[in-house]
């Protein structure tokens, strides 16, 4: 039986999705591809000198396509293109139906049949679920939630906290999230 009782947020593991300079502060982000605030945070994080870990936290009942999008990102990851699919999903959250996912996969030059088969497998669903469960155990209740420097920051707190951790080269942070 799955144990969803309290536990610390898991440390970095070999199959986590990571990007950014290894020497930069580590940020673990729990996010949902259908969450507009996650899209904004993700865009702003790209400007900061941070090492980012992306973990799935799709909340099915509020975001009906979040799971499908998460599985699509994982399936793209099986062909080495997780972050490309991540960026494309967040770039247009109004288009997350199956044909839109196929279109993105095609645009990335993925093997489309393999992509479509992979995203429906138990292994991919379990991979997404693993992230979700680790978030539940760590007390994640909303998206985006980020763990950085021993602190947890949820929702609108996340961006100012991360900006303080890794200041922008330009001091302009124009987008506000609520």
């Amino acid at each position: 039986m799955t144990d969803l009782g309290s536990a610390p947020v898991p440390e970095l593991s070999p199959d986590d999705h990571v990007r950014g300079p290894a020497a930069s502060p580590l940020v673990i982000e729990y996010a949902d591809f259908e969450c507009p605030y996650c899209a904004i945070l993700g865009q702003r994080l790209g400007d900061l000198a941070l090492r980012r870990v992306f973990r799935h936290f799709p909340v099915r009942s509020s975001h009906p396509r979040a799971w499908a999008a998460a599985c699509a990102a994982e399936a793209a990851g099986r062909q080495g293109r997780f972050w490309d699919m991540h960026d494309l999903l967040f770039a247009d959250q109004a288009r997350l139906e199956d044909p839109h996912l196929w279109s993105r996969a095609r645009g990335l030059g993925l093997d489309l049949e393999r992509f479509d088969a992979d995203r429906r497998t138990d292994a991919v669903r379990q991979r997404v679920r693993r992230d979700f469960e680790s978030g539940v155990r760590a007390g994640v209740v909303t998206t985006p939630t980020v763990f950085a420097d021993g602190q947890v920051h949820a929702g609108s707190e996340a961006l100012p906290a991360l900006t303080a951790l890794a200041p922008l080269p330009s001091s302009e942070v124009g987008t506000e999230i609520k």
Partner: protein, 156 residues
Amino acid sequence: MAEEIIQPGTPAPEFTLRREDSTEFTRADLEDNTTVLVFYPFAFSRVCTDQLNLYQDVLGDFEAKGATVYGVSCDAPYSQSAFREKLGVSIEQLSDFEPKGEACRAFGVYHPLGFPQRALVIIGPDAVVKWSYLAPSPTELPGANLIFDGLEQAAA
């Protein structure tokens, strides 16, 4: 100052809530089941929406632990049904509409401003409270992990 939330080891009080079909849900309905009462301030409010959505996504895990989860507020049963249907969640709703807040008071979770505190109460099959939690403020959403901790404690 609000009254204190009901503490573990206390027998559940006598109370009457209304199900969505307006039938009664009373202390007798607690017997032979592990019950999780999720007290929330207002249907359709933002935090309550996030809370029920999150708990819905792990509802199967609560059920696997033998627990039945109910949402409890002072909203009318029709409002609770509309809220539940809008969210697309299946967590059964119980109304403390009239006499307003009487069951919430019995569990020590009625806010002086006229709504349930955000609180969680786990009651064992013997109708004794096993675990309770009062959020520091109505805007703070208790993680689902806390309920799983409480169920673990209830089973010990």
